[in-house]
């Protein structure tokens, strides 16, 4: 269990990550702030506390892997990778610009630390399964983490992959759904209700946890508990708030892929300070 000091460090780090997100999207005049902000605490927990990684050796065979299956949330991944030392923080200002390593959606060929190129939704869990299978074949004890969007799981391939993870008993795989409840056209429950999530993933043979995706204590305790589950894959349904941390973005569907104005940017930074 981590102490209060560490929890405070993680909270502050996540706020810094959120500031980067708002700044990147504003500077690029393009990008997806809402679903990046909702995942900031989850990624901060993974990259700063949980995952066995070494930014000096991004290709280390025994490293834990993270796949951002909801690739449009690239700002949160880039911010965390930069803060973790995979590349200079200053490079965040090149996001979505010509000749940048920080593509609109993550590109593993361009940026160290990106484990998989994503963007076309629904594909990350299959790829994570492949990495987990390879780990078992090679007797390496790394873990594969994958973050899915709640809208994303409307893609049929996710459920094909869900069968595969359970069929091959991939207990070295931990998936997280960023359940912020909103997708581009409205609430997920109205556009194409993917629920009931717990029951579905359980029926597909997964061990399911449901948590508050903004509570570091709960996130860390669950990720720890997840490692003890044997013989089946783990799904963590993380209840989150889209736009979390920025007052005018929270729970607002229009902030899926909208850019703040100058005034809104200042308001956002002040909210996060």
């Amino acid at each position: 269990m981590v102490d209060q000091e560490r929890l405070e460090f993680l909270r502050q780090k996540a706020q810094l990550v959120r500031k980067h997100i708002v700044q990147m999207v504003t500077e690029a005049n393009s990008g997806h702030p809402g679903g990046s902000l909702s995942a900031a605490d989850l990624l901060t927990a993974l990259y700063f506390q949980v995952m066995r990684i070494n930014p000096e050796k991004p290709d280390w065979p025994e490293r834990d892997r993270f796949i951002l299956s909801k690739g449009h949330a690239s700002p949160v991944l880039y911010a965390v990778l930069a803060e973790r030392g995979y590349f200079p923080v200053e490079e965040l200002s090149t996001f979505r610009k010509i000749n940048s390593r920080l593509q609109g959606h993550p590109d593993m060929k361009k940026l160290p630390g990106v484990e998989m190129s994503t963007g076309s939704l629904g594909q990350g869990l299959s790829v994570a399964n492949g990495m987990a299978l390879a780990g078992k074949l090679d007797n390496l004890d790394y873990r594969v983490y994958v973050l899915l969007g709640d809208g994303e799981i409307e893609e049929g391939q996710v459920w094909e992959a869900a069968m595969t993870s359970a069929h091959y008993k991939l207990d070295n795989l931990i998936a997280v759904v960023d359940y912020n409840g909103l997708q581009i056209d409205g609430p997920v429950s109205e556009v194409m209700n993917p629920g009931p999530l717990q029951e579905k993933w359980r029926a597909f043979g997964w061990h399911v946890f449901t948590i508050d995706g903004h509570d570091f204590k709960e996130i860390l305790a669950t990720l720890e508990a997840a490692r003890e589950i044997k013989g089946k894959p783990v799904m963590i349904i993380a209840n989150t708030i889209k736009g979390k941390g920025v007052s005018f973005m929270e729970n607002k569907v229009e902030w899926h892929g909208t850019v703040p104005s100058k005034e809104q940017f200042e308001q956002a930074i002040s909210d996060l300070s």
Binding site: P61, D107, M108, K109, E115, M116, S117, T118, G119, S120, Q123, L125, S126, V127, A128, N129, G130, M131, A132, L133, A134, G135, L137, D138, G156, Q157, E160, A161, M163, T164, H167, Y168
Partner: protein, 316 residues
């Protein structure tokens, strides 16, 4: 009559053999392992074989993950499903990150036979060719299949290998060497060139024989790699023979014929006639009946070369 072997059978055999030499090779199939012949590998190396069920998209995505972790995955299913059902996974999870996945698709073209048009890929080469960085290989016989599958293992990057269902004549000696992107000249000739791929290479050779008896000397190229094309051999064929007939068990749109026509039009323009499937789907029937009905015969190749000759003589 030459000895016959289906390219899918050659694939199954060589894959199991390569599996012995290279531990990185893993194989995935989508419930068709008995048809694609990956079953041979599966029996020999059960822990390195993954049946993914009837879920082609998931299969190709999983292959991408295995490749990202250092494996050399071969993913097999019918060509129509590999390139249709799993196109997005091939494009975005394999080709875009340039992962080392080999897609070995069987039952391509009309010679699937009785299953009919829903199962006969006539556009798979066009689809795969259009993807940046994808290598596209269409072996003509069992020997070249084995050599080119081996070459694909030694090549770093995504490869699409198009294989067939029926037994076809063996054209090469067992020790013949093949290089990806380097066509085989099976017959020299100065009048015209027939550029063929896959099961049509054997028919092109027969056509050349008939034409020779009539005094028309045709060069025959086995263009086993559609991408990258052997531009050097094609440029030479255009320059030295002045006219090209392409032959493929695929739509005339986007396949070998298109690739050849595009290339010569920009480098050494000569007349090109494309023998292939004329922008239609197939149907049920015996493989030979289908090849006959859809114009993929020795006679049609001979006819095409003669048409080329008449056009050239008429200055067309």
């Amino acid at each position: 009559m030459a000895e016959k072997m289906a390219t899918r059978d050659a694939y199954g055999d060589i894959l199991a053999q390569l599996g012995e030499e290279n531990e990185k090779i893993v194989v995935l199939d989508a419930d068709l392992s008995k048809s694609t012949k990956t079953v041979v590998f599966a029996k020999k190396f059960p822990h390195r074989f993954f049946n993914m069920g009837i879920a082609e998209g998931d299969m190709l995505g999983t292959a991408a993950g295995l490749a990202a972790a250092g494996k050399i995955p071969f993913a097999s299913t019918f060509a129509v499903f590999a390139t249709g059902r799993a196109f997005d996974q091939i494009r975005n999870s394999i080709a875009y990150p340039r992962l080392n996945v080999k897609i070995a698709a069987t039952h391509a073209g009309l010679t699937v036979g009785e299953d009919g048009g829903s199962h006969q890929a006539v556009e798979d080469i066009a689809i795969m060719r259009a993807i940046p960085g994808m290598v596209v290989i269409v072996p003509a016989d069992g020997v070249s299949t084995k050599a080119l599958v081996t070459a694909a293992v030694n090549y770093q990057g995504p490869v699409y290998i198009r294989l067939g269902r029926p037994a076809v004549p063996l054209l090469y000696k067992e020790d013949e060497e093949f290089v990806i992107g380097k066509a085989k000249e099976l017959r020299d000739g100065k009048d015209f060139t027939i550029v063929a791929a896959g099961i049509m290479v054997a028919k092109a050779l027969e056509a050349a024989e008939i034409l020779a008896a009539e005094g028309i000397r045709t060069r025959v190229l086995d263009m086993h790699t559609i991408k990258p094309l052997d531009e050097e051999a094609l440029e030479r064929a255009a320059r030295e023979t002045g006219g090209i007939v392409t032959v493929e068990e695929h739509s005339v749109i986007g396949g070998l014929g298109s690739a050849v026509a595009e290339f010569v039009a920009e480098t050494h323009p000569v007349p090109v006639i494309r023998v292939g499937i004329q922008d239609v789907f197939g149907e049920s029937g015996k493989p030979d009946e289908l090849l006959e009905k859809y114009g993929l015969t020795v006679e049609k190749i001979v006819e095409a070369v003669k048409r080329l000759k008449n056009n050239t003589a008429a200055g067309l």
